[in-house]
């Protein structure tokens, strides 16, 4: 029986391709939009993921990572006094202006990391040595800064530029995840960042902390909040806080949500309609099957087999195309594009729903089918 069902499906080449195209593009649209959305969300968290520290301590009312509410600089030692803290180091983070040799200005995200441990430094060093940050007036810039500040010909190791009227020298070129605001990252030591930035009363942006063995980051964040009254979040919590803030305060969520929904509806419309036509056309064959004794349940199974088969093939093609799109256009981080397993599973479930719903219409038709239809005109 299953063989017959598949034969019926693949037999009508035009309808099969139509059906496949609808499902493929529906899948591709949802996956591609979903990935771009998640890519944007990843970029929005890059301030956190680039630093890669287990627990972030800051003002309890903070909304997102780029919104900096500095602490008094004794906060580092207050956090160190909390039981369960393995280490705690200061972090400076802020947007500053870099002035180039030719007089152009560029906004940069200045990151000041603890000078002795260099905790928070980027994990991939493209050129130079990150230890050289300990030398006077040095910074490490990311690949985006190289592009923005004049390209690899002009920005290389040893190039000097000004940050807030302080001359700095490039000691290393590192790889960092692009940020939502798209400011290049410039790393330096905490003390130097304090020296470079303008005078304000408080400058300590964040305290980074790590739990001792046996204490989870969640537990540590809870303890720090309890003992000090400061806001403490794990990397994930802080990332979600940032994502939530963006979804709430920008139209990004609604935009992408609409597109994904549209993909779903269009996919369902095409698939449903084509499948229905497909069933109508094969009504005589189904009638014959019913006439030789096939039950409605069996026919329904055949229909579901057909729709799931084409659905899975469409899914495979769709995610393949979306991945290909990601690999070609988003290469080198030019476009935010991050495919994730949950997205793929979700799209798979959505696609099976599309298939089930569209076959439901056909099954309803078959249930009412009289075997006698075979013998009519």
């Amino acid at each position: 029986m299953n063989f017959v069902a598949l034969k019926m499906l693949f037999g009508d080449r035009a309808k099969y391709l139509m059906l496949l195209a609808g499902l493929t593009f529906s899948t591709m649209l949802i996956v591609q939009q979903g990935s771009i959305f998640w890519g944007l969300m990843t970029w929005s968290q890059s301030g956190i993921t680039n630093i890669n520290a287990p627990v972030w301590v800051t003002d309890p009312n903070i909304n997102q990572v780029e919104e900096i509410k500095p602490l008094a600089d004794t906060a580092v030692n207050v956090v160190r006094s909390v039981p369960g803290v393995e280490w705690a180091v200061p972090l400076y983070k802020g947007v500053q202006r870099a002035r180039l040799r030719d007089g152009n200005y560029e906004q940069i995200a200045l990151v000041g990391i603890d000078s002795s441990t260099l905790i928070g430094r980027p994990h991939t060093i493209i050129e130079g040595r990150i230890e050289d940050l300990r030398a006077p007036d040095t910074v490490a810039i990311d690949q985006l800064a190289v592009q923005r500040l004049g390209g690899p010909d002009r920005m290389h190791l040893g190039t000097t530029f000004e940050v807030n009227d302080h001359l700095v020298k490039v000691a290393a070129i590192v790889q960092a995840q692009k940020s939502f605001q798209n400011f290049p990252f410039v790393y330096t030591t905490y003390e130097r960042a304090l020296g470079i930035t303008p005078q304000v009363r408080r400058k300590l942006s964040y305290v980074l902390a790590s739990p001792v063995e046996g204490v989870s980051p969640e537990e540590l964040a809870r303890r720090i909040h309890e003992h000090t009254g400061l806001g403490a979040f794990t990397e994930e919590q802080f990332g979600w806080k940032t994502v939530q803030w963006i979804l709430k305060n920008t139209g990004i969520g609604v935009n992408f949500g609409t597109t994904v929904l549209l993909g779903f509806v269009v996919g369902m419309a095409i698939a449903g309609q084509t499948f229905y036509l497909f069933t109508i056309e094969n009504l005589r064959q189904f009638g014959a099957l019913k006439a030789i004794g096939a039950s409605t349940g069996m026919l329904a199974r055949m229909i579901l087999l057909q729709s799931f088969t084409v659905g899975l093939i469409g899914y495979g093609l769709g995610i393949g195309l979306a991945t290909l799109f990601g690999l070609t256009t988003a290469r080198g981080g030019r476009l935010p594009f991050v495919e994730t397993w949950p997205l793929l599973v979700g799209v798979g479930v959505a696609l099976l729903m599309i298939c089930s719903l569209s076959s439901a219409i056909s099954i309803r038709k078959l249930a009412k089918l009289e075997p006698a239809v075979v013998f009519r005109g």
Binding site: N52, D73, T74, S116, T117, L118, G320, L324
Partner: protein, 312 residues
């Protein structure tokens, strides 16, 4: 039959490509390990503080007793001095001249005493002789009386001359004392940490910068700043460890000395010297023995103070 379709193979290819891509991008990069071990707390629970190394018993800021020209600096940075060793010399020519004058006036005063003494003895001799004449007609009572008065005046004059000599001596001693004061001496044994005065410069009494900074660099102490928020957590007498910035492998164990009873506004130790009056800190003084590795007065340390298991 199904597997003769190109679309099926393409679908497989698509799934494989996606899985391969996602598998490759699956790993979150591991945080690079700290360049060196961050200062970490060796106790069950702790109060952490920022500290600065000082010479034990605080540093002595040497100032001149009076303003004046510096003619000689006897010490260099890092010289060891004993109590009473000369440190620097102020210009003393004027006082030396005065001393000479005073000294030279002494023989004259002494000679005057001798002179008065001889005169007194002469008068007493005359008086004795007048009194020894029994015949009232030969010597008038008036003469005797006058001689007696003369002798008495001479006695007082001798006393005054002696006092004059003592005064002259005292005046000479005063000049000598003032002169001695111009040689500034070490108030206690120690090491010269800073020299901010050169020969030929004029030292004034009221300067912010000490002319010399004297400290004991054989035994150090750590002044640990604790945020006032954490001040109630400190148990007096608790042991502590300190880590030098840039040398976190070896902890320096500290012994409690005292808690400064007055909470002071934080002096920023973290590189920025702008005033921040919103934070006040409790200062605790810890003593420690000089470790085997080099250590310098003024270095910053991270301090962890043992906090006995507080009832949570």
């Amino acid at each position: 039959m199904m597997f003769r379709r190109l679309s099926v193979w393409l679908a497989f290819a698509g799934v494989l490509l996606t899985i391969a891509t996602l598998w490759g991008a699956r790993d979150k990069p591991v945080a690079p390990p700290p360049m060196e071990r961050p200062p970490h707390n060796p106790y069950l629970s702790t109060v952490a503080a920022a500290g600065i190394i000082e010479a034990a018993n605080e540093n002595v800021r040497i100032a001149p007793p009076v303003s004046g020209l510096v003619t000689k600096v006897h010490v260099k940075v890092a010289s060891h001095v004993q109590k009473g060793d000369p440190l620097f010399q102020l210009d003393d020519r004027e006082l030396r001249a005065q001393l000479q004058t005073q000294t030279d006036s002494l023989p004259s005063a002494a000679a005057r005493i001798a002179e008065q003494d001889i005169r007194l003895r002469d008068l007493q001799e005359q008086l004795r002789r007048l009194q020894s004449v029994k015949d009232r007609r030969a010597v008038s009572e008036d003469d005797v009386q006058r001689k007696w008065h003369e002798a008495e005046v001479a006695k007082r004059a001798l006393i005054r001359s002696r006092a004059d000599l003592r005064l002259a001596q005292t005046q000479r001693d005063e000049v000598q004392a003032n002169l001695d004061r111009l040689t500034v001496q070490a108030p206690r044994a120690g090491t010269i940490l800073q020299v901010n005065i050169r020969e030929g410069e004029y030292a004034t009494v009221n300067t912010n910068e000490p002319l010399l900074l004297l400290g004991d660099i054989e035994t150090f102490q750590v002044r640990a700043d604790i945020d006032e928020v954490n001040a109630p957590l400190v148990v007096p007498g608790s042991p502590a460890v300190a880590y030098l910035k840039g040398r976190t492998e070896q902890a320096i164990s500290l012994t409690f000395d005292r808690i400064e009873p007055y909470i002071v506004p934080k002096r920023s130790l973290t590189g920025d010297n702008s005033e921040r009056v919103d934070t006040r800190v409790l200062q605790i003084i810890y003593q420690f023995e000089k470790p085997t590795f080099p250590i310098y007065v003024g270095q910053q340390v991270d301090v962890f103070i043992d906090r006995e298991a507080n009832p949570e």
